[in-house]
C-alpha cells in the first residue's frame, strides 16, 4: 500500500478496468486523465490506451455524457469526467435517458456507464458556477441512476471500481475540494459498495451526518466535541441514491439527536432527506441542519468563507443541539 492522492486513486481504478476491457472508453474535456504520485508510475490514460478509446473533446458536456450513454447501450463500458463548469449541462440526458431507459424498456436497456460529475464549492474568489456546490440534490432526486459521493481516496477508488462494474448508470460526484486528500490506498482493484453509508466515528450523544465535501469539517468538529467530553457518532452518507436509511435510523434511534452537514444550498439539501427519513422512523428526536445559505456563492473571500459551512459551525450547532 502507498499513500496516494485522490485523483491518482481514481485513475488507478479506471486504468485497471480499461486494461481488463479493451472496449472500455474514457472521454474528457479539460481535465487530462493523467496523474502522478510519489513512488508510483505516472498514469496517462490517453497515451496508454490511445485516442480512439480516450478522447479529448470540445466544450460540450451534454455530448460527452450522451456519448457515454450511447456506448453503454451498444454494450461498451464507458466513463467521462465532466468538469464542474459543465456539471449541469448533461442533467437532462441523465435524468430522462440514463435514468429511465432500463425501466421504460422493461429491463432491456443496460448502461454500464459512469458519469464523473465534478462539483466545486470549496474555492473562494471565483463566484457563481465556479464556486458552487449544489447539483448533488438534482442528481440524487431523479430515478434510475445511482448517485454516490465518496469522501476519501480509499472510497474514491473502491467506489469507482464498483461504479465501472455496475450495470447501472452511476453519477459519481467528485467534490473538487477533496482533491488534496491523500491516504493509504491499495494498488490492486477492490470494490466499495454503492449502497452503504459508513459510520466514521461511533458515539451515543448525537448523530452527525455529512457527505463528500462536508465530511472533513464534520470529522474535525467531532474530534473537538470528543475533546470536550461529548460522544458524537459520525456517519458518511457516501451514497445519495439509494440512501442507506437503516444506518441513519439505527444511529438516531440511539442518540435521539441528528445534525446534518451539507455544502449544498439549505433548501432540499441531502440533509433534508436524511432528516425526513429519520423523522418518519424515530420518535422524539431533535434536529438541526448546517448548510450553505440559499444564495449563490459570492466571489469575495470575506463573504464566501463566512457563508460556507466549516468545523466551527458544526461544533457550535452540535453543542446547541445536545446542550
Amino acid at each position: 500500500m502507498t499513500e496516494k492522492s485522490w485523483l491518482y486513486s481514481v485513475l488507478e481504478a479506471v486504468q485497471g478496468e480499461m486494461r481488463e476491457d479493451p472496449a472500455m472508453t474514457w472521454l474528457f474535456e479539460l481535465t487530462p486523465p493523467v496523474a502522478s504520485n510519489p513512488g508510483m508510475p505516472v498514469i496517462n490514460l490517453e497515451t496508454e490506451f490511445g485516442r480512439k478509446r480516450v478522447v479529448n473533446t470540445g466544450i460540450d458536456e451534454n455530448w460527452m455524457v450522451s456519448t457515454v450513454i450511447g456506448s453503454g447501450l451498444a454494450g461498451s463500458r464507458s466513463a467521462t469526467y465532466v468538469p464542474y463548469q459543465g456539471a449541469a449541462m448533461p442533467f437532462q440526458v441523465i435524468q430522462n435517458h440514463a435514468g429511465k431507459l432500463r425501466h421504460m424498456t422493461g429491463g432491456k436497456a443496460s448502461m454500464p456507464v459512469v458519469f464523473i460529475i465534478e462539483l466545486t464549492g470549496q474555492t473562494p474568489g471565483f463566484a457563481g458556477q465556479h464556486s458552487d456546490y449544489e447539483l448533488d440534490t438534482a442528481y440524487a432526486h431523479i430515478a434510475g441512476v445511482r448517485t454516490v459521493v465518496p469522501s476519501t481516496p480509499y472510497d474514491a477508488k473502491g467506489m469507482m471500481v464498483s461504479a465501472l462494474r455496475s450495470p447501472d448508470p452511476v453519477v459519481y460526484l467528485y467534490p473538487a475540494g477533496l482533491r488534496t486528500l491523500t491516504e493509504e490506498v491499495p494498488d490492486g482493484q477492490y470494490e466499495v459498495p454503492l449502497d452503504k453509508a459508513a459510520v466514521r466515528m461511533e458515539g451515543g450523544d448525537l448523530t452527525i451526518v455529512g457527505n463528500g465535501p462536508s465530511m472533513p469539517i464534520a470529522m474535525e468538529a467531532a474530534g473537538r466535541l470528543k475533546e470536550e467530553g461529548m460522544s458524537p457518532e459520525v456517519i458518511d452518507l457516501r451514497v445519495l441514491k439509494e440512501m442507506d436509511t437503516e444506518t441513519l435510523v439505527n444511529s438516531v434511534a440511539k442518540t435521539k439527536r441528528l445534525l446534518t452537514v451539507d455544502q449544498s444550498y439549505y433548501t432540499l439539501c441531502p440533509g433534508a432527506e436524511v432528516i425526513a427519513r429519520v423523522a418518519e422512523n424515530v420518535e422524539g428526536a431533535r434536529y438541526k441542519r448546517v448548510a450553505f445559505p440559499d444564495a449563490p456563492p459570492p466571489a469575495s473571500p470575506e463573504m464566501f468563507l463566512w457563508m460556507r459551512p466549516n468545523a466551527d459551525h458544526v461544533f457550535d450547532a452540535a453543542t446547541q443541539l445536545v446542550g
Binding site: 450511447g70 456506448s71 461498451s76
Partner: protein
C-alpha cells in the same frame, strides 16, 4: 476518406435568397419534390452506377414490398381500432406515408446476428414503422402498444419507448433532440472497439433546430464515426412547418457544411432510399465516416393519434384540430398521396418483372392476415401486475413503494 465534389457544393436553393417567405418556400419545396420523383428514372437511365437495388434478389425486393405493406396495414388497423373500438387503449404517432423510408434504410442494414455484430437503429416518437423494418416482432409490438405484460417491453414503455436490442432496435425516444447524440455515441463505441457495426438514427425535420443537431454532426465528422443520420423531412414538426425552424430548404445542406456527405432522396420511393443508404453503409463500414440522408416525405395522419381520420379510410383530412398557429393544407396531403410509397414500390416491382399484379395482391392479403392476427393476439394478452412498476429501476431488486406513506 473525404467526400465527393458534389457533396461539397452547397445546395443552390439553400444559399440563395434568404429569407424565404413561406409561400416561396413551399413553391421551391414543390419543385424539389418534382425533381426528386424524376430521380429514380434518371438513375435508371444512367444505368447501374450507384443503383444498387438492381443487384438485389427478387426475394429481397419482395420482402421490401411486403414490409411497406406490413407497416401500412399495421397503421391502418391500429387507426381503425383507435377510432372504432372504445375499449382499445393503444395510441400511435402514425407513420403511414413514410413507410418507404424505414423500409429502404433498414433493408441496407445488418439486422440479425449477435448483439455485437448487428447494426443499431435509434428511432423517434414515431417508431412503429422503424421498429417493424428493423425486425421487431409485430405481435410483441402490438401487445406493448396495448400495455400488455407480455408486450415487447412488458408494458413499461408502450409506443414511444419500443425497444428490442436483440434485433438492434435500440428504440424509440419520446424526446426530440437527444436521440441523435446517443446514436452517434454508439458509433463512437464501435470505432473504439474496432467493430464494423453501423449506428443509424432516424430524426424528423424537427431535430434540425435542436442544439443536439450540431453536437451530433460536428463530433461524428471530427471523429469520423460509423454513423448515419436519416432525416425524415415530412415538412412539419408537430404544429409548425419546418420553415419556422430551418433557414434551409434542404436540411441536408446543413450536414454538408460539416463536410459530411449528404444526399436528398425521394422518401416515397423505397428504391431511392435503399440506394442512398447502401452507399452510406458501405462508407461507414469501411471507415469512411458519417453520412446524412434527407428523405422528403409526408405523414398521412396528423401529428398524434387519429384526429380527423375515419374508420376504413387512409389518412386524416381537414385541419388538425390540435393545431392552431400552423396548419397543413388538406390539398398538400392529397397531392402527396398521389405518390404513395406502396403504389410506387408495387409499380416498380411489376415494372421490373419481379412480381405481377396478382402476386402483389396475394402479398397484400397475406400481410393483412398477419396484421389482424397480431392485433388479435395482443388483445388476448394479460395486463400488467401493478407492483411490477417497482422493478427494473436498477438491474437488480426493486425500489420501495412510497405512495402509501
Amino acid at each position: 476518406m473525404g467526400y465527393s465534389k458534389d457533396d461539397a457544393t452547397p445546395d443552390a436553393e439553400a444559399t440563395e435568397g434568404f429569407p424565404i417567405s413561406r409561400r416561396g418556400f413551399l413553391r421551391i419545396a414543390g419543385l424539389t419534390g418534382a425533381g426528386l420523383s424524376l430521380g429514380t428514372g434518371l438513375a435508371r437511365a444512367n444505368g447501374e452506377i450507384g443503383f444498387w437495388a438492381k443487384d438485389l434478389s427478387d426475394d429481397k425486393l419482395v420482402d421490401m414490398y411486403a414490409m411497406i405493406l406490413r407497416i401500412r396495414w399495421h397503421e391502418r388497423t391500429m387507426a381503425d381500432k383507435m377510432l372504432g373500438d372504445p375499449d382499445y387503449r393503444g395510441y400511435n404517432h402514425f407513420y403511414a406515408g413514410q413507410e418507404a423510408v424505414a423500409t429502404g434504410v433498414c433493408a441496407a442494414l445488418r439486422n440479425d446476428g449477435a448483439f455485437d455484430q448487428i447494426d443499431l437503429v435509434y428511432s423517434t416518437h414515431r417508431p412503429s414503422g422503424h421498429a417493424l423494418a428493423k425486425g421487431v416482432d409485430m405481435k410483441a409490438m402490438c401487445a406493448e402498444n396495448d400495455f400488455r405484460a407480455t408486450g415487447l417491453n412488458n408494458g413499461y414503455g408502450a409506443e414511444m419507448h419500443l425497444s428490442d436490442p436483440s434485433v438492434g432496435f435500440i428504440g424509440a425516444d419520446g424526446m426530440v433532440g437527444p436521440g441523435p447524440v446517443l446514436a452517434q455515441g454508439s458509433a463512437f463505441s464501435f470505432r473504439a472497439r474496432g467493430s464494423d457495426q453501423v449506428s443509424v438514427v432516424f430524426g424528423g425535420d424537427g431535430t434540425y433546430a435542436t442544439p443536439h443537431f450540431h453536437s451530433t454532426l460536428n463530433n461524428a465528422k471530427l471523429l469520423d464515426l460509423p454513423f448515419i443520420y436519416i432525416l425524415e423531412n415530412n415538412l412539419y414538426h408537430q404544429y409548425a412547418h419546418y420553415s419556422y425552424s430551418s433557414p434551409h430548404v434542404d436540411i441536408a445542406t446543413a450536414a454538408r457544411g460539416y463536410g459530411i456527405p449528404a444526399e436528398v432522396v425521394d422518401g416515397q420511393d423505397v428504391i431511392q432510399v435503399y440506394n442512398a443508404m447502401y452507399e452510406a453503409v458501405e462508407r461507414a463500414r469501411t471507415g469512411g465516416g458519417p453520412s446524412f440522408i434527407e428523405a422528403k416525405t409526408y405523414r398521412y395522419y396528423n401529428h398524434w393519434g387519429a384526429p380527423g381520420a375515419k374508420v376504413g379510410e387512409l389518412g386524416a383530412f381537414g385541419y388538425d384540430p390540435l393545431a392552431i398557429s400552423s396548419f397543413r393544407p388538406e390539398r398538400e396531403l392529397r397531392a402527396w398521396m398521389q405518390r404513395d410509397p406502396v403504389d410506387i414500390c408495387r409499380a416498380t416491382l411489376i415494372d421490373w418483372g419481379v412480381i405481377d399484379a396478382a402476386r402483389a395482391d396475394e402479398i397484400e392479403a397475406e400481410v393483412r392476415a398477419e396484421v389482424d392476427e397480431a392485433f388479435a393476439w395482443a388483445a388476448e394478452q394479460p395486463l400488467c401486475n401493478p407492483e411490477d412498476g417497482l422493478k427494473h429501476v436498477f438491474a437488480t431488486g426493486e425500489v420501495p413503494a412510497r405512495q402509501f406513506g
